[in-house]
Subunit: 323 residues, 2 copies
Amino acid sequence: MIRIAIAGYGNLGKGVEKAVCAAPDMELVCVFTRRDPSALKVASGVPVASTADMKDWQGKIDVVVLCGGSATDLPKQTPEIASMFSVIDSFDTHADIPKHFAAVDAAAKAAGTTAMISVGWDPGLFSLNRVYAESVLPQGKTYTFWGKGVSQGHSDAIRRIKGVKRGIQYTVPVPEAVESVRRGDEPELTTRQKHTRVCYVVAEEGADKAAIETAIKTMPKYFDEYDTTVSFIDEETFDREHNTLPHGGFVMRSGRTGDTKQLIEYNLTLGSNPEFTGSVLTAYARAAARLHAEGETGCRTVFDIAPKYLSPLSDDELRAHML
Amino acid sequence: MIRIAIAGYGNLGKGVEKAVCAAPDMELVCVFTRRDPSALKVASGVPVASTADMKDWQGKIDVVVLCGGSATDLPKQTPEIASMFSVIDSFDTHADIPKHFAAVDAAAKAAGTTAMISVGWDPGLFSLNRVYAESVLPQGKTYTFWGKGVSQGHSDAIRRIKGVKRGIQYTVPVPEAVESVRRGDEPELTTRQKHTRVCYVVAEEGADKAAIETAIKTMPKYFDEYDTTVSFIDEETFDREHNTLPHGGFVMRSGRTGDTKQLIEYNLTLGSNPEFTGSVLTAYARAAARLHAEGETGCRTVFDIAPKYLSPLSDDELRAHML
């Protein structure tokens, strides 16, 4: 059995917990929290321990799955914890990946642990599909569309606006853009042409709704380059209709062999983004444990991992039943 | 530059030739044929040599891409040629893969070469997607649909019927079945419920069309378990409308995390099946050359190959631009 621990018990940590408990070859050992461990009850009922006491668990855990945020938690946590345990994270600040990789690689090599970063669906499974598709069809264009799904970053941005009580933002691909790519037109698409942003807001009593709408639509980077719609709804409707975290998207490679059109398309339709990301992390935690058992140390990404390492099946079983 | 040779110059060999000539890091050295080499002109203008003289080319070629058929050519050719060169094939008789693997692995290990078998899209990219998807979502069902596309085996079967001058068969997924899977119904589907078979036939003059239609529709294994339609057309129409080899299909994993539905879908829409298969073989030939340079010998499948080996980009470039 591969012994797993989870560090951080938000939506993502809960998703990992569910996936690990469903895996036939894994055992959830404990959950680490920065809060008071005695105040946290976890769904699986495993022990909860303080992040400060992690060192005491060495030898009892094969892989720690890090479920903190990319903005401030992981840049510090992943190298730190990689100096004690093999680790895996879902670091998703694309521009900072090389820097994060270098820090984690150095820590893991020094400690003789195995680390994997930026595992999830984007970065993660979408990245894999970009590499497979561009390697097979070097001539062509790659498109990534996200949604329909909840963007947590954009939802947070709405909620920081004065007068907003509740808020959620859905990223929605523009159907005409998706169809054009699917037809093999290889269009040049602006940011605005690829996605729209759909917002639902519960306003505080007496708040200036027009001002809220303007504040959202003109917010630099988050909304100003998109066609954004804002709908004001009451709190009851919000709680009833916007209580899940669906997401998904497409990676499309519109390619050519000579003059012949060839299309590769990878689609995800996710009922729960954190539960799916947790499932991807869990499959790659299996790979990290196996690589470590084979004596590999240092940092890896999804590009470095042969698919067989993700599966609980043996090489013989994979060849006989999955090829 | 990775030095490639092609063995066999049918549709697949021509597809590989196109892909190798388009690759920035590859050089096509020669084409091997069992026919009279002086009678074969190849599109790229590279030398044509006899399969019988292959041994003379040792040291001049990094990987030989085998483009023969799975029924009789590859079971013999792949182990034989693996005893002289690193090789890659598209062996696609699913049931015989373990036996083929063992024979090729023994030959490659004895000779110190690197072999890859069953590379293409099914087996190949579809197999990969089955393993990735089932590893990430262990609870659920996997569905593979083929088409719309030309099945060469079924087209050959039609052409063997008395009175048939020309014939082609398209495998077509049943839209209702695809939609049911996409909705997350996880249906149990019979062979008949998944695909229909659509045939176009040019009859010999005076042939008994009713007899041809019956012979097709009742042919065991090929057609009897399917809803099959047969249309008789004239030769001009046949040549105009049925002169390409499109194909494609879907791998769908309808899974669950707890009670939450999650769908992973991989779609190929291929203008030319042999050119696309040739492109996949070419990307994996790059992997074979690199693995061989790293000192790895023996037989591999797509499950054993980390995605980075397929790309001409460096590890740093992949992390910086593709994650």
